[in-house]
């Protein structure tokens, strides 16, 4: 495919992957103090004196992918490593030797637990940066939980370790065998075929069958508090869309709602409120759902992952940027590792013989660690779609025409390829049903277009929201990509399987238009900038001049006088500095030693005007460095203050105390936003009884702000601004989770392709279950889904975490083609075939997607207030075909949460 270039990103240097990842498990027991339960550095695999094949040579438990390091050649296309179960009947399970822990474990233990133990019973997260050798350490500390029946503790395990100084031969107990099968892994590259023998899932990820409440955005009965702080859950309480009969042109999309609620759920203003996952503990007993869990004694278990950082500065930087921006994914895998360790401890406790017990334990933990290492490596290294269509169209408007052409060409080729089986229609039906972020991108805007007439406008309400109520854009993007916008919250991934690389890549390319998310811009302070606002002491101030009289006075002063008085004062002192119409006054030090005060004052004024702009428009050319001087410097030339003077009533009305001269519009926008939100809320209140006790909360929040309204007696200082460079963010999920043709199944990617579904079949169910238990999204998830498109068989299936059994050993259900989607694609491609400009065809595609949205609105309105509606009736009343109902219901659930419940 000429136009598709799917290359692994160059910036991801493969050498990063050679970092060792070390695992330490520690316990802190009230009675016995701290003990190391596992340290991967202290474990050595024993040579089982098997005939050494070359494969076995690569079999290694430590995550050393030095291959690329040594050869200095780029690894074959992708750096993703491959795991295959190589264990045949003859292979003996690996046996491990547990040697004395490395000398640094004591120190590491201190870091994990802290020098003073905390009484907190939930889990604690810590990240340390170790300078030399450069390492990052991520720790989770858990309180332990026993079932009432199991009073034996892990001490036995510890005892076994302590008594062990010699080597243990391998043992083949029945459990040991299972471990063995799965624990000899092989790190090979893509060209090698994985073994045919499927691995036993349950030994890797023991089926964890904790009953999990199904969180739902549907309203009414869900007054349950357990998941109270979930953004998406609470979204149900404010019905996201304006009521019927109101504007169709701009409702608040669920993506907007999600962001607003996230900002509120994570707000400091409410203080800490325990959230849905606080009760995470470490189970030392099988009966995790035991009716009477007893805390036998205060014991904590800490799990630490220590990642060695690359030596080279740039690689180090790149890896850290990636690590911190992708932390939720790392954490999710760490949770998986924790579960495996739990299981290992529980299982090995059943084994009487101590050396054997240790072997089983080590095998299982090492295996889980190997899994973790591989996943992390893959996450960092796997190939990505180099030009995802949607994101590229957003970010490069100049190349839009070319992009449209490519996109349509690829899509029509694909349509031809799977014409008989309606492969593309089925796939797009599934993708549009589950990756729901496209919906808000077609909801019509009510704003007049700013730039080119028919381009999609950027959401200004969302923009405004982000500024006044900051939320984490990365989190928002992750939810978009996984399609977590419906109700109940579902997350979805799409995997394209096929031997023909080109075909799979074509599918991926086309899907990268439909799986959407916001684009992220990063605003950074240029390195060369001398006076960063972060540094409080600038060069001028570093020279201490203690004899300066009354130093605070020239910089700032407390306003007690009336506006008029001050105005006249200032007017006398420095004519021209008071700014008409706005309630702030720019003041220079009246005792200024400036040689020519009048000149200075005018300069001050113009500079301030610029600064005012600078404060509020980040893009404009910066002069803002000066602000720093103003605040920090003692230079008499630069003593300036901004005052906010306004009658209390006025500030209270505004909801803010005026701004600079340029702030008028900002204030206006702010007010608009609030009005808009308030009107939406008001509109919704009537329809939603669950809002009942909202008033109190709101009042208190308001009161809080109002109490701070009284800022007139505070010393008011300018908000610094500083030059910012905006650039496309590199480390965001839109770039990292749209994978290319990967050598191996990737559990995190929103979209990727693989050549064989072997490993997919092994892992998928466990992964989906894990996603529901430990969603990387940091909010409760009702269901995890995976769309599996097979380009060889031209089949599309949806696999869900909810239904395990599928007939005929198949993964999931086949997708019913939505007629709406099918005609949509067909007509777009026919237009394309008629040589209509591709730009126009894409616009038409968007128009047609918008039709789908409008239809979902009718459906939602029709269902409002009903309890159960026969599908037939929908067809008759609304002209909706049954094949379209799943799609329309899913779309409708993003703006009308009640829909899902009625159609269930």
């Amino acid at each position: 495919v000429k136009h598709i270039r799917m290359i692994s990103e160059g910036s991801r240097d493969t050498e990063d992957g050679s970092n060792d990842i070390r695992l330490i498990v520690y316990q802190d027991c009230e009675r016995r103090g701290r003990q190391v339960l596992f340290d991967s550095k202290a474990i050595h695999k024993l040579d089982t004196s098997e005939p050494v094949t070359c494969k076995n040579l690569i079999v290694t438990v430590s995550f050393i992918l030095k291959t690329s390091d040594e050869t200095k050649t780029p690894p074959n296309r992708s750096g993703a490593c491959h795991i295959g179960s190589q264990a045949s009947e003859k292979d003996k399970p690996p046996s491990y030797q547990y040697t004395r822990p490395a000398p640094d474990v004591t120190m590491l233990g201190e870091m994990m637990f802290g020098s003073v133990s905390m009484s907190y019973k939930g889990s604690t997260l810590k990240i340390h940066h170790i300078r030399s050798p450069p390492q990052l350490m991520v720790s989770k500390v858990f309180s332990t939980r026993f079932g009432s029946s199991t009073s034996e503790s892990t001490n036995t395990l510890q005892d076994s370790f302590e008594s062990m100084s010699q080597t243990f031969p391998s043992h083949t107990s029945s459990i040991g065998k299972i471990s063995a099968n799965t624990s000899s892994f092989l790190l090979i590259f893509a060209h090698q075929k994985p073994s045919e023998q499927p691995r036993c899932n349950d030994s890797v990820f023991p089926a964890h069958s904790n009953p999990v409440d199904m969180p739902s955005r549907g309203h009414s009965e869900d007054g349950d508090s357990g998941i109270a702080r979930s953004a998406s859950l609470s979204s149900l309480l404010a019905t996201p869309l304006p009521s019927p009969g109101s504007s169709f042109s701009s409702g608040l999309s669920s993506s907007y709602q999600r962001r607003l609620l996230r900002s509120q759920a994570t707000s400091l203003q409410h203080g800490p409120v325990p959230r849905w996952n606080t009760e995470e503990m470490f189970s030392l007993s099988d009966e995790s759902c035991s009716s009477n869990p007893v805390m036998i004694q205060r014991k904590k278990i800490a799990i630490s992952i220590i990642i060695s950082l690359p030596e080279r500065e740039e690689e180090n930087h790149n890896f850290q940027e990636f690590f911190f921006s992708h932390f939720p994914l790392f954490e999710s895998h760490m949770n998986k590792l924790k579960t495996a360790i739990e299981r290992a401890m529980i299982v090995c406790r059943r084994i009487a013989e101590s050396s054997q017990r240790v072997q089983v334990y080590l095998c299982r933990v090492m295996e889980a660690l190997g899994e973790f290492r591989m996943t992390v490596w893959n996450l960092y290294m796997a190939p990505r779609i180099s030009e995802p269509v949607w994101l590229s169209m957003i970010s490069q408007s100049t190349e839009r025409n070319l992009l449209c052409q490519r996109f349509l060409k690829e899509m029509s080729l694909l349509m031809e390829h799977g014409a008989k089986s309606q492969f593309l229609s089925a796939l797009l039906t599934a993708v549009l049903t589950h990756h729901l972020a496209w919906v808000s991108t077609v909801m019509p805007s009510s704003m007049p277009p700013i730039k080119s007439a028919c381009q999609k406008p950027a959401s200004q309400t969302a923009d405004l929201l982000a500024k006044s109520h900051p939320y984490n854009p990365l989190w928002a993007q992750l939810g978009d990509l996984y399609g977590a916008l419906g109700s109940p919250v579902r997350v979805c991934r799409t995997v394209v399987v096929g031997r023909r690389r080109e075909l799979v890549q074509r599918v991926l390319y086309v899907l990268s238009y439909f799986i959407r998310c916001s684009d992220l811009q990063e605003h950074v302070q240029p390195q060369e900038q001398m006076d960063n606002p972060a540094s409080p002491c600038t060069s001028q101030t570093t020279d201490p001049t203690p004899e300066k009289p009354d130093p605070l006075k020239p910089t700032a002063c407390v306003i007690g006088t009336s506006e008029k008085a001050l105005n006249s004062d200032l007017g006398n002192a420095i004519p021209g500095t008071s700014v008409e119409q706005s309630h702030e006054i720019l003041l220079t030090d009246t005792k200024s030693t400036s040689p020519s005060p009048s000149v200075e004052s005018t300069a001050v004024r113009s500079e301030f005007t610029e600064m005012a702009q600078e404060c509020f428009g980040e893009d404009s050319d910066s002069v803002g460095g000066g602000l720093e001087h103003i605040l920090a410097s003692q230079s008499p030339l630069l003593h300036r203050v901004q005052f906010h003077i306004g009658s209390p009533s006025e500030t209270a009305n505004d909801g803010q105390a005026g701004g600079l001269t340029g702030a008028g519009c900002g204030r206006g926008l702010d007010r608009k936003l609030h009005q808009r939100l308030l009107s939406d809320i008001r509109r919704n209140e009537s329809s939603d009884s669950a809002l009942g006790d909202s008033d109190d909360e709101e009042t208190s929040a308001q009161e809080l702000y109002v109490s701070h309204e009284d800022c007139t007696n505070l010393v008011c200082l300018f908000l610094c601004s500083c030059q910012v460079e905006s650039r496309a963010s590199v480390n965001h999920f839109g770039r990292s989770l749209l994978g290319g043709y990967c050598p191996q199944y990737m559990p995190d990617f929103a979209l990727h392709g693989i050549s064989s579904d072997l490993r997919l079949k092994q892992c998928l169910m466990a992964d989906l279950e894990h996603t529901v238990l430990h969603p990387a999204l940091d909010e409760p998830v009702a269901e995890a889904l995976c769309i599996v498109a097979d380009t060889d068989r031209l089949s599309v299936q949806v696999v869900t975490s909810q239904k395990r059994v599928c007939e005929g050993g198949r993964l999931g259900r086949d997708v019913m083609v939505s007629n709406l989607v099918h005609t949509l694609i067909t007509s777009v491609l026919q237009l394309y075939a008629l040589n209509i400009a591709s730009d126009f065809c894409v616009m038409h595609l968007e128009d047609r997607l918008q039709e789908v949205y409008f239809k979902s609105r009718s459906l939602a309105e029709y269902l409002r207030g009903q309890t159960r509606v026969p599908v037939k009736e929908l067809g008759l009343a609304l002209g909706i075909e049954s094949s379209d109902i799943p799609l329309l219901a899913a779309v409708a659930s993003t703006h009308s949460p009640y829909v899902a419940q009625i159609l269930l």
Partner: protein, 516 residues
């Protein structure tokens, strides 16, 4: 960013203390409620207890004043604190010694104690992240400041950033680390210069070595030395104002470090046409009633009213009309009877002029109000009540009193759209809202066909044969084809200028070259 920044100090006498705290106070949002029986009071009390359990000695804010030395203090008690306002967003950055929001007091206290006396950082200086759901999450950076009079010639501080959003805070680690380092280095360098100059004047090492160690004097000495404030260590009289600026900036910059570009759908043709009309009207006259709800206004409630109002006759007054009036299309249909209504609707859809004669202008206006919903906004040209006949090109809805003569020249199967519309209207199970949404769907669907036809025939100027293909593709062929085409052509006149000019000027250079 939804976070606060605090400077903490490990006082040799009093243990970990919060010195200076900058918090962001957001304007009240119309917050949907926090669901569940979350009782803030209880939680706070519990949190308070937890926090204090950790402290070296119990400290409530009330007793704090008593055992506080210069080193534990930032702003004098009389100082009101600092504030900076972000005019664009209304966010305020407030700085005091302790957080103003009571529920945050114990959170910051906890963060301070943990950062300076619980968590272990290799080398004692550096970044750590820690936290849990109950106490919030903390990015902490510990550091030393030189003090010629302190034990070991240095004092231990930390800057903590506290947030509830764990992931956001971790995502921000590189940014926070980079900038807090600048803050810290700046403080350290400044203090180092002070330290050096003090050492020049009076080398402490020598003093200490020469002075005989006396157990009696020692504690007194220590306590005296413990009192130095950070201001004195840096000789920076505006230190707190500067720190306030730095911390405020940090919170703002961290919150705006990443911005999203989130797209919406393009406005519908109806919206565009309304905007255009609005603009024209504003240019033409100012006294027009319907123009007041500015379209440039992003509020849905407003644009909604625009949509409802702007049809060249003022809906707003409809409420005031006394006497009978039509409430909905269905109502109209019931009154007229199905077949007459169909006739009427057919003509409306085809763009034929509809003349409504009657003595009651209010009734006529209400009829037009419901009928216009059948058409794209751009196709509606109405003269609700005129004393004389208006030509068809001027209006397609015309109200006349019974005595106005109609010129002689004025004197007509059905399109697909009409049939579908009728289905919805005749179904009594559908509420008025559902019907209007169905109508919207139908209109948008056909408007999209109109766009394609416009592009095809007017912009690209394709021949008849191709046009026929497009019609088939659009589902406009078959029974009622002639009417469909008529409808499409009429509706074309309702496209917004913006849209048309966009298509006309669309660059077509190099189009399709790659695919040929």
């Amino acid at each position: 960013m939804n976070a606060l920044v605090a400077l903490c100090h490990f006082c040799e006498l009093h243990g970990p203390r919060t010195l200076f705290c900058t918090e962001a106070v957001h304007p009240p949002s119309p917050s949907p409620p926090q669901p569940g029986p979350a009782i803030p009071g209880d939680r706070d009390r519990e949190a308070d207890r937890e926090g204090e359990g950790l402290t070296m000695r119990a400290n409530s804010s009330a007793t704090q004043g008593a055992d506080m030395c210069e080193g534990c203090r930032s702003l004098p008690a009389s100082h009101p604190g600092f504030v900076s306002v972000d005019g664009e967003t209304g966010i305020r950055y407030l700085s005091h010694q302790h957080p103003r929001q009571p529920q945050l007091f114990s959170v910051v206290r906890q963060a301070c104690v943990r950062s300076l006396s619980c968590e272990v950082c290799p080398g004692r200086e550096g970044p750590i992240f820690f936290g849990d759901e109950q106490h919030g999450f903390v990015f902490s950076h510990t550091f030393f400041i030189k003090d010629s009079l302190a034990r070991g010639f240095q004092r231990w501080y930390s800057i903590v950033v506290v947030a509830m959003d764990r992931i956001y805070l971790i995502n921000s680690w590189p940014f926070l680390l980079r900038h807090l380092r600048l803050t810290i280095q700046s403080l350290q360098n400044t203090a180092l210069k002070v330290f050096d100059s003090e050492q020049c004047v009076c080398p402490q090492r020598a003093v200490r070595m020469n002075s005989a160690f006396s157990p009696a004097v020692f504690p007194h000495q220590r306590s005296g030395n413990a009192a130095r404030s950070l201001t004195s260590l840096t000789q920076h009289p505006n230190l707190w104002a500067s720190l306030h600026s730095s911390f405020s900036w940090l919170l703002k910059a961290c919150g705006s470090r990443l911005t999203e570009k989130l797209l919406e759908g393009a406005p519908t043709e109806d919206t565009l046409v309304l905007i255009e009309r609005q603009t024209e009207q504003e240019e033409e006259m100012s006294g027009w009633d319907g123009a007041e709800g500015g379209v440039s206004n992003p509020q849905p409630s407003q644009s909604e009213s625009v949509q409802a109002k702007d049809f060249q006759f003022d809906d707003g007054r409809q409420e005031d009309i006394l006497g009978p009036k039509f409430k909905s299309l269905r109502h109209l249909r019931q009154v007229l009877g199905a077949s007459d209504f169909r006739q009427l609707a057919w003509h409306v859809l085809m763009g034929n002029q509809v003349i409504w004669r009657g003595a009651d202008p209010g009734l006529i206006q209400s009829a037009f109000n419901v009928l216009k919903a059948l058409l794209p906004v751009g196709c509606v040209r109405a003269v609700p009540y005129s004393p004389h006949y208006e030509e068809a090109y001027r209006c397609n809805f015309l109200g006349l009193s019974p005595d106005v003569p109609i010129p002689a020249h004025v004197s007509s199967s059905g399109p697909t759209l009409l049939n579908k519309m009728e289905v919805a209207l005749s179904n009594e199970n559908l509420s008025v809202e559902v019907v209007s949404l169905c109508l919207l769907c139908l209109k948008e669907e056909w408007m999209n066909k109109v766009k394609v036809l416009f592009k095809f025939s007017k912009v690209d100027g394709r021949g008849k044969e191709d046009t026929q293909k497009v019609l088939a593709l659009l589902g406009a062929t078959g029974p009622g084809e002639e009417d469909n085409v008529r409808l499409l052509k009429f509706w074309m006149t309702g496209l917004s200028k913006l849209y048309k000019s966009h298509l006309m000027t669309a660059v077509r250079v190099g189009e399709r070259t790659l695919s040929q």
